[in-house]
Amino acid sequence: MSTTTATPQARMMRARKFSHAWLLITVLVIVALSAVRVITGVHEIDSTGTLRAAAIATCPILMAALGGLWSERAGVVNIGLEGQMILGTWGAAYFTYYYDPWIGVLGAALMGALGGLLHAVATVTFGVDHIVSGVAINIIGLGAAEFLAEAYFKNLEGGGVKQLTGLASPTEMTIPGVSDAAADIATQHWFVVSDLAAVVAALTSRLSLLTVLVPVLVVASAWILWRTAFGLRLRSCGENPAAAESLGVHVYRHKYIAVIVSGAMAGIGGGYLALVASSGFTTGQTGGRGFIGLAAMIFGNWRPGGIVGGSLMFGYTDSLTLRSTDAVHALLLLVGIGLAVYALWRLRQGRVASAGVLGAISVGFFAWFLLTDSVPREFTGMTPYVATLLVLAFAAQRLRMPAADGLRYRRGESI
């Protein structure tokens, strides 16, 4: 099946095969997780509480990654996601204090969008290097949020120079009956069944509506970018802007929209941190999640499905760090199994050398699991970064970023 004969039918087939692959991977992950849980007896690794924490940790990273997707699909690298996220935390706090949490979310989006607008002016209108502008926006965002916090929150109730606590949260919902029943089954510790029940319980009890909004935004973005004429034009600006321009696409306008939306998404991610993940605004709250979002996006190969996977990995390990150290230890076994499966798959592809290396690393993890009782907390925190580096090292050739990503584009100039 070569790409030159991609009839609509062939594309459908491939899309179906692709979604089947994702389904298979999800099932495999759940079964492996369950097996590890039963073998080690560490039920914390996917208890309702852990999964809830993981979902909350995933959302801000996912929003940042989604922001990155919008911008980079239009050919603008957005290192400034971190700064835009920080602006979002402040916006959410300010507007929630004076109005209500949903206005707060809009405020977060607005502040993030302002950061995006700044990036768009610098990179699109003035043709400044994207990384340079992004670095500057991170400095400005950090400084602005700290300055604004001191200027506006100092004398408020629950406020201080560096914080504003006691903010109202977006509505939380619990589906009565289902939530308790699922939580009950989850505590039975049955193989696979309890794991699925824990997922259901985590998603039906005290679920913030903002958490629901995040996947909605992901699906909506995917649909807009890949299923509408506007999305096609936007992506064409990231692949070959000169060709797009020659076909009548207003490249500057599309880039502007993409980067502003990108900032707004990152801003909402920041707002999520202030309103759902914690009970208020503090400076330095983002803790580099904008950068992690960027990594999750690259990890996810600039595709919506991929960025969800990447964000989940980062979010899960992030949440696990704060919980039990036993769970972290059990995770070693999971990583070992995962690597072993990957090695077998490589072997089937005939990549013997790569399979050998992966197999050896996997054996190392098994040994680590068997020979020790606990893992230092910090090592879990490191996992996602090391994993990203490894994935990039092993699969960088398979990643494909938009062809004109990060390049300067001037209308009417050839370079």
Partner: protein
């Protein structure tokens, strides 16, 4: 274009940028209900002796950070990882110096060597990943930053000495401390002796780039990779070498402070210098003198702003906005000036052609 005019054009961009940053800062302060005039009065007041010493010391740290970032930038390598490189290197050097395996100044020398080696090695990972596996250095250095900072946190908790609420490495013995000179009274503090590393670094950077073959290759690769390849430059080798050098210098960033004031790695460690260095390198257009101007400016703003907290209701963080805006405004201004210059050149070329044509026309009709 005359030299005076060209020089004027070169200054135009940074001056416009500083003016824009001042304007925006003033607006932000005014909007928040404070007095912008009060702010500038404090910033532009004569620094106290103690503050003056601090500015000099901070300049040396920021300048080293700027140089570290600039080496990569000159080759279009975005070493965002200066932060992680100097964090890890500082911890390693502080541990070695604290262990006092060597006597006196030899201890200092070996620690500096270790700092350079660790910084270079950490940056080298990104370089090797780039040339062998095609991993973008931007993303790998971001990952390596996070890993380095977590790793140091772990090592410090595991092997550090607990003091009160904090943890630190062993204190450097008296014989291996390098304080410096006291330009004012003793309580105003010393100008750190190892700040000389920044001077040496600056001179070395200039010589390396402008007087060596390596520097020529580096600049050539930065200007046009394909042209460099065509003239026989091994780009892969250049990428790894310049990452190693960038990381090596990054390893030195905190050394003046370690041996001059902190004496151990702990709560006294000054984080975020790596990112400041990136901003300063961009501000100074990756030129040794430009970076120096940027470093002085940033150190000056940082130190002068400390007075704001005590004397006004303006947050000292506002200078971060000023700094960020300067960086952004400078690059925008350079771009605008560049476009204006191109337009001027085009116009002068057209004028010359027109003049030629009319002259020829006259000659023919005559």
């Amino acid at each position: 274009m005359s030299i005076v005019r060209r020089f004027g054009m070169g200054l135009l961009a940074p001056l416009t940028a500083v003016a824009a940053a001042m304007l925006i800062t003033s607006i932000v302060i005014s909007l928040s209900g404070s007095s912008a005039i009060e702010f500038w009065e404090i910033i532009f007041s004569r620094p106290a002796d103690r503050v003056f010493v601090n500015i000099v010391n901070q300049t040396s740290l920021i300048y080293l950070a700027g140089l570290a970032a600039a080496i990569g930038f000159r080759m279009n390598l975005f070493n965002i990882g200066v932060e992680g490189q100097y964090t890890l290197a500082s911890y390693a050097a502080a541990s070695l110096a604290g262990a006092a395996l060597f006597p006196g100044l030899l201890n200092v020398f070996m620690s500096l060597l270790l700092a350079v080696a660790v910084g270079a090695a950490w940056a080298g990972i990104a370089g090797v990943l780039k040339v062998t596996r095609g991993v973008s250095e931007v993303i790998s250095t971001i990952m390596l930053n996070a890993i380095a900072i977590t790793l140091v946190g772990y090592l410090l908790n595991r092997y550090g000495v607990k003091v009160g609420n904090g943890v630190r490495t062993e204190v450097i013995p008296d014989g291996s401390r390098v304080d410096g000179w006291f330009p004012f009274a003793e309580p105003d503090g010393p100008v750190w002796a190892l700040g000389l590393l920044a001077v040496l670094g600056g001179i070395g950077f200039w010589v390396l780039l402008n007087k060596t073959r390596f520097g020529f290759d580096l600049r050539a690769t930065g200007a046009s990779q394909s042209a460099a390849v065509a003239s026989g430059v091994n780009v892969n080798k250049m990428v790894v070498y310049s990452m190693l050098m960038s990381g090596g210098i990054a390893g030195l960033i905190w050394m003046p402070s370690l041996f001059g004031a902190a004496y151990s790695y702990g709560t006294t460690f000054q984080a975020f210098l790596g990112f400041t260095g990136i901003a300063v390198a961009l501000l100074g257009r990756n030129q040794p003198v430009g970076i120096l101007v940027g470093a002085v400016l940033f150190a000056f703003l940082n130190e002068q702003s400390n007075r704001l907290t005590l004397e006004t209701d303006i947050s000292a963080n506002v200078v971060q906005i000023t700094q960020g805006v300067i960086v952004l405004a400078v690059v925008v201004a350079y771009e605008v000036v560049r476009r204006y210059r191109t337009k001027l050149e085009q116009r002068s070329v057209t004028e010359t052609l027109e003049a030629d044509k009319t002259a020829k026309g006259k000659a023919v009709s005559a």
